[in-house]
């Protein structure tokens, strides 16, 4: 359970500075605003791609948070100390993933009502299943994103490289989350043929969690 302590440490230091939380939340709201210029926000069609819009916002906001995940440890060589500590690489990685997951989910939960107000989307009746999809999709994004955050932490082009690598690779999860969110926001339940997307999302999470935990040690040890 050491990973929970790592996660708590990350969350505590984030809540004290609110560095990435503020940045990515305001960024998310700005993108939500920008969408209103890309198409007619009052049209009926918005409901048909609402899930896609919402997840694009989350993906952009997520990249900001995930960038900081390992970069936060760079000053004062904190990362070296963490790696040298008796905590295993997998625990350290899992802790950081959980911290990013909580932060990103918080942002998503704040963004959803804002989105509902701006684009006249009713989400309250489906709040619980939506939260479940958000959690599954966000886990997929954070597990891959934290791994790439570790992969790119020493690069000068870090801020650019992370989204470049992350977005194409997390596409299956993103597609599934978009599709499921759209279904839920349209007021329907996930059933029948759409279950395949739920299975894909869960499968993606399991596969990449296992793969990341198996390979993260090789990345962290220099």
């Amino acid at each position: 359970m050491v990973f929970l302590q790592i996660a708590a440490k990350d969350l505590r230091s984030e809540l004290r500075t609110k560095e990435s939380l503020n940045a990515s939340l305001s960024f998310a709201v700005v993108i939500l605003l920008l969408f209103s210029f890309a198409f007619d926000p009052s049209s009926e069609a918005v409901a048909e791609f609402s899930g896609g819009l919402l997840w694009l916002v989350f993906a952009f906001a997520g990249a900001l948070i995930l960038n900081r995940s390992f970069a936060r440890e760079l000053p004062n060589d904190c990362l070296e100390v963490l790696i040298a500590s008796p905590v295993s690489g997998a625990q350290l990685f899992l802790g950081k993933t959980v911290a990013s997951f909580v932060l990103l989910l918080t942002i998503e939960v704040i963004c959803l009502p804002i989105f509902g107000i701006f684009y006249d989307i009713t989400w309250i009746p489906q709040a619980l299943p939506l939260l479940g999809i958000f959690a599954l999709g966000t886990w997929g994004m954070t597990i891959l994103g934290t791994l790439f955050s570790a992969l790119t932490v020493n690069l000068s082009l870090r801020e650019l490289m992370l989204p470049m690598l992350l977005y194409p690779l997390m596409l299956p999860a993103l597609m599934a989350a978009m599709r499921l969110t759209t279904i839920l926001l349209a007021g329907n339940a996930i059933a029948g043929n759409d279950m395949v997307w739920l299975r894909l999302l869960i499968g993606f999470d399991i596969i990449f969690t296992a793969l990341s935990l198996a390979l993260v040690e090789t990345i962290l040890v220099r």
């Binding site: 891959l144 790119t152 020493n154 000068s156 194409p168 690779l169 299956p172 596969i207 793969l211 390979l215």
Partner: protein, 228 residues
């Protein structure tokens, strides 16, 4: 020794490609429905298979690097990915030319097209990451991990896009998937050209490996010169 292998392979590839080009252009009949444009298919599909072959090689070499920590495997993975990207580009571009003539549009958001593009972007990201890291062992290790992730994700994406796109069937899909190359002459030609392009891919990987080897020697010499 490797120089001789390269020369022999090069000659073989040259002869094969010329011979195939001749047969494709002059000996084979036009296709019944599409006319002469179908000939691009003899490069389109084999290039795709050559690219897949390269990606699989990259996956195996990357895994081998993580097990053995031998930089030679890293060089193989890098060369294979680079060559694979080149063949994937041939696949995409020939497909677009064919699409422009047969469908009237350069690009259709069909499942396979989308997947091929994503595949290309993912492996392009791999090369970008390599460029951004200076230390050879760090680069080898990180890119090996990325290569494994890339392959797994690309495999899942393949299925996912199919679900995604077929739920909104486009006018192009049935042409793409329902097409059968019945005539055995045409099918054999496809295999022949796959042989040619696959050999070309092997040759290119070998050349690229050789360059990488030389680069490492030059770097070593440079370091020694600096030390003096």
């Amino acid at each position: 020794m490797t120089k001789n292998i390269r020369l022999v392979l090069g000659a073989l590839v040259g002869i094969l490609l010329l011979r195939n080009l001749y047969v494709i252009l002059f000996n084979l009949p036009d296709e019944m429905e599409q006319g002469p444009v179908y000939r691009i298919f003899y490069y389109h599909l084999p290039a795709f298979f050559a690219a897949i072959l390269c990606y699989i090689t990259a996956l195996v070499a990357s895994s081998m690097y993580l097990i053995k920590k031998n930089l030679r495997y890293d060089a193989i993975a890098m060369s294979a990915t680079e060559v694979g990207l080149a063949f994937a580009a041939v696949n995409l571009i020939t497909g677009m030319i064919w699409g422009r003539i047969s469908w009237g549009i350069w690009w259709a958001w069909d499942a396979r097209l989308t997947w091929a593009l994503i595949c290309w972007l993912v492996y392009f990201g791999y090369l970008m990451l390599r460029q951004a890291i200076d230390d050879p062992t760090e680069r080898a290790k990180n890119s090996a991990v990325l290569s494994i992730f890339a392959f797994v994700s690309v495999a899942i994406t393949y299925k996912a896009i199919e679900w995604w796109r077929t739920q909104h069937p486009g006018p192009v899909l049935s042409i793409r998937t329902g097409k059968q190359l019945i005539d055995p002459i045409m099918e054999n030609m496809l295999y022949m050209n796959f042989l040619a392009l696959a050999t070309l891919a092997v040759l290119m990987v070998i050349i690229r490996l050789n360059q990488e080897e030389m680069q490492r020697q030059i770097d070593g010499l440079r370091r020694r010169a600096h030390a003096i």
